[in-house]
Symmetry: C2
Subunit: 548 residues, 2 copies
Amino acid sequence: MSKKIVIVGGVAGGASTAARLRRLDEEADIIMFEKGEYISFANCGLPYYIGGVISEREQLLLQTVEEMSHKFKIDIRILSEVIAIDREQKQLTIKNLKTDEIYCEKYDKLVLSPGAKPTVPPIKGLSECKQLFTLRNIPDTDRIKAYIDSEKPQKAVVIGGGFIGLEMVENLKHQKLEVTLIEATPQVMAPLDIEMASIIHEHLLDQGINLILNQSVEAFEQEGHQVVLSSGEVIATDMIIMAIGVTPETTIAKAVGLEVTEKGSIIVDEYMRTSDESIYALGDAVSIKDFVSGEKMMIPLAWPANRQGRVVADHICGRASHYKGTLGSAVAKVFDYTVATTGNNEKMLKRLGRSYEVVHIHPNAHASYYPGAFPIAFKMLFDPKTGEILGAQGVGMEGVEKRIDVLAVAIKGGLKVIDLQDIEPCYAPPYNSAKDPVNMLGYYAANLIEGLVENTQWYEVDSLVSQGAFILDVREPFELVTGVIPKSVNIPLSSLRQRISELPKEKDIYVTCQIGQRGYVACRLLMALGYSCKNIDGGMKTYLAVQK
Amino acid sequence: MSKKIVIVGGVAGGASTAARLRRLDEEADIIMFEKGEYISFANCGLPYYIGGVISEREQLLLQTVEEMSHKFKIDIRILSEVIAIDREQKQLTIKNLKTDEIYCEKYDKLVLSPGAKPTVPPIKGLSECKQLFTLRNIPDTDRIKAYIDSEKPQKAVVIGGGFIGLEMVENLKHQKLEVTLIEATPQVMAPLDIEMASIIHEHLLDQGINLILNQSVEAFEQEGHQVVLSSGEVIATDMIIMAIGVTPETTIAKAVGLEVTEKGSIIVDEYMRTSDESIYALGDAVSIKDFVSGEKMMIPLAWPANRQGRVVADHICGRASHYKGTLGSAVAKVFDYTVATTGNNEKMLKRLGRSYEVVHIHPNAHASYYPGAFPIAFKMLFDPKTGEILGAQGVGMEGVEKRIDVLAVAIKGGLKVIDLQDIEPCYAPPYNSAKDPVNMLGYYAANLIEGLVENTQWYEVDSLVSQGAFILDVREPFELVTGVIPKSVNIPLSSLRQRISELPKEKDIYVTCQIGQRGYVACRLLMALGYSCKNIDGGMKTYLAVQK
Ligand SMILES: Cc1cc2nc3c(=O)[nH]c(=O)nc-3n(C[C@H](O)[C@H](O)[C@H](O)COP(=O)(O)OP(=O)(O)OC[C@H]3O[C@@H](n4cnc5c(N)ncnc54)[C@H](O)[C@@H]3O)c2cc1C
Ligand SMILES: Cc1cc2nc3c(=O)[nH]c(=O)nc-3n(C[C@H](O)[C@H](O)[C@H](O)COP(=O)(O)OP(=O)(O)OC[C@H]3O[C@@H](n4cnc5c(N)ncnc54)[C@H](O)[C@@H]3O)c2cc1C
Ligand SMILES: CC(C)(COP(=O)(O)OP(=O)(O)OC[C@H]1O[C@@H](n2cnc3c(N)ncnc32)[C@H](O)[C@@H]1OP(=O)(O)O)[C@@H](O)C(=O)NCCC(=O)NCCS
Ligand SMILES: CC(C)(COP(=O)(O)OP(=O)(O)OC[C@H]1O[C@@H](n2cnc3c(N)ncnc32)[C@H](O)[C@@H]1OP(=O)(O)O)[C@@H](O)C(=O)NCCC(=O)NCCS
């Protein structure tokens, strides 16, 4: 007899599971329930449709119910909310949202891909707001778009500086609104560390965004026309986008006793099975192994949902397939910048008490002599003992996510920092340099591991200064206009050998330059001559990023 | 006592070796001989300076003699040709090309990075040509640029469709010349297979290039104003660029009995040592292990030269470092297209008699709904038994080399095709799709390995047709305008289940669609219903590429 597989949720995870299931099993009964009107839509494209970058609404609908049901012989039921699960009877209760009819449906295997909904905290005055929006699906998008088109708001407040918040900032700006971004922590883009996020802060200011960090929203007043901050400051606005994060939509899963985390994510094993063998769960609703740390985490991104859909289908059909964990590789376009990350950041490693070493480099996106070579700030974290790559971040204009992708492969493939030296990317001047930034990261990390140089981090500099440390700046004098470390001594690398006697033999020397590279070369020279020295990682560029 | 290290060649390999050597050993005597006037210049940028894309000549000079000697305390001698090696005495004979003075210099370790020079075959009439150029260095560039500026040529012939030839074609076109490209083989860009190169052929034609394939140059007439082809055709021209390949510059190495290949490349081990323990060689002049096949090959690219330079310096200084072999990852910009390759191509695998399987896919560079999503043609070769990735090629507009880089990491990291499924690249609509093309390659290859589908290649189709095979085209009728396979039967995938009775049970069914994806879905359905079928890999797009 054919299996009956019932899927809850008809978008990234659900539709991926259904399609693969059908390719593996022509006989299975497949039913897909979706409480919304649309399946298989482009969640990730929604902000761009609001901004007018994507011009046609239909482009957001990747598969219609009609198309998908024909192509894959799937019983797709939209406007159908699954409101309860009966694990004993292996049966669901469904509410038809059009007719209000309630009925049951049996399953052999149940697949939960209900996703996560925008988090909306109980802020004072929230329920009176007439123009406060969240963004998850097509109706949300239609609402925001209609409001902009008909009400012609001039000012917008976006609450939350995560990637959806930032995409909305950019797209509202495209629509010519004055935008204020409010973020409760000291930085936007939580997956970045602060010195990397600072580059984006500056860019947001350059783009005319009113960026407010370290402030939370205390209340909404005047039906949402005023936003009151924790500082007491009041921001006037014509509309509000709430984008502070997402909450797994797991009410029915919790109600029926499936194991969930404190935050309500469904706990699954590597085959995406829940605590009930007949029930699988995937996507934004689950807590899954972080590939680097091994911790269970909620990582609400589209790649995992798509990948997990295939794993679920494979496992249901008895195929050997499992989910290896999530790196959280992510990228966002923030106006002219690209921000990309993979693996763990420094904040996380600190929290986990993991031993790590950091490198910052600032290579050009491609050969410096070919037009348009814009520098990228890269940060890589690795374990100095095992050589394991723990995470990487990049901020720049082009070629950013390309290198983060390469590092993501390296991490998942179990390559060590030392192996990055032998990675052989394609090179021609419009695309790269003969040594790829990833090679540089490998070289630099190897130098640290092998003791060819020692590093100091940007956040240690100020206390070094106040302790009266000797700071040597090896840039050429004309470069000093970009800023200097207080009390640093300038001896250009080109004349360091001649002027070596100006350096103290008894003191540690902290070396800096523009990006850290000449500092390293200077350190090699100093070490050979018996000086004790450390290179300030990332040079002035990394140090000054946070100072601004 | 300090070591005396003498380097022959002051550009990619030589200068890289020198810089790393100094960082490792402040005491060593380092002498670098360069017969030209410039060291450390941007070979790869030369075509773009000719085309005016790079506007300033100085941008090509990455390090001046002055800068590099100060920064690294290196004795750099330009216009100094090493004309002989004495291995017994460990001594070189040098000719000062400015003064004609000849003198000797001893070495403890000798490093040869003399590169390769443009190959110029003895074609009839060649020596009389007044406007025939090759391109290797700054003087060559100056000559070509001066000729264009002063003589205002209208027509140019480029001989050789490798990447330097194609870059010259593009850059001469930028200078408003009418360009003819003559290539003796059936295709440009030898690292590509023919169906991939065909996409570039079409693009060259679209750009107004007079593309002549399968023809060699028999003679030059009228001092190079006429180029006579093997067909007898005569092409009138005002200038000629000869770019048919390079020949290792190894006269002095051969003269002193260092082991070389038949083609004159110096044979080295994994530490870049020649047959003489005191002599290292690297860069374009050596024959090195092809990473995939293990064969010794000459792979004249900048990444290997740079990487090998560091290995040589490390090994001289007693550090554990070795060269893992070359993948030959390469990329070229050809007008609006990007062509990238890594590893072995199908021609090479055939020649080596290696068993392999092929997949072609045509994904969009990024999410289809985000503006500018242009398809990329990817081809991947792998060993169906071991799952080893053997090579990959990509042709498209953006995001091409990004995926080839990812595959290059996968190959060097020893990942298998199956592992490509779990590669987790960064995703947001402007950059990618939730399933990266590399994931798709992994899925597709896994399906083949696991027997979920069987493939037929584009080059088998015509003989299938003539044998009267049953070819099923599952596209929608409106798509057929792009071209059909003769005698194919059209039943759209969306109605295949209903019309299944129209298919023969006793015959193999060959399925096609636009790009091979629906063909695969159709095959899964047919297989489930007991039909015997094969999918035409890459669909009509791959098949038609070569037909045009
Ligand atoms: C605006 C926006 C931009 C984004 N941009 C990116 C990006 O650039 N990159 C990236 O990686 N990710 C991005 N994401 C995240 C990505 O879309 C999600 O990670 C992914 O869609 C998760 O898939 P899922 O199947 O778990 O949930 P969803 O795709 O949200 O699908 C869940 C579906 O289940 C339905 N459902 C829930 N409960 C029930 C029920 N009880 N009965 C019936 N149906 C139910 C819901 O209506 C919903 O349609 C973005 C998300 C949003 C909202
Ligand atoms: C026009 C052009 C475009 C290119 N584009 C790319 C590209 O996009 N991507 C890529 O990967 N590669 C590219 N390359 C190839 C790349 O430049 C080479 O692979 C690389 O430079 C090889 O380094 P090398 O040190 O072996 O030789 P070279 O860099 O050529 O240096 C060798 C030097 O040795 C000197 N020399 C030789 N014999 C002697 C002697 N007896 N005494 C003293 N000096 C001597 C020569 O004068 C020469 O300057 C390009 C090359 C050219 C010419
Ligand atoms: C589109 C959707 C329905 C999934 O459908 P799908 O058929 O599994 O996915 P794709 O269209 O990506 O096709 C992938 C399949 O085609 C195969 N394939 C791709 N290109 C191929 C080619 N050229 N030849 C042969 N097979 C090919 C793959 O192997 C894979 O099949 P498999 O899983 O059986 O191995 C689902 O992902 C979805 O609804 N997505 C939209 C929502 C979403 O993802 N939102 C977040 C991002 S905006
Ligand atoms: C430039 C050239 C002289 C090499 O000099 P180099 O100093 O070895 O190379 P780079 O400038 O790339 O610097 C690399 C070094 O800086 C280190 N580095 C890079 N960024 C760093 C940073 N931010 N902080 C600390 N160290 C850094 C690397 O670790 C590496 O040092 P190592 O080899 O000791 O580990 C040589 O490659 C050359 O002449 N190139 C031009 C010719 C050429 O390559 N042509 C073909 C392509 S056009």
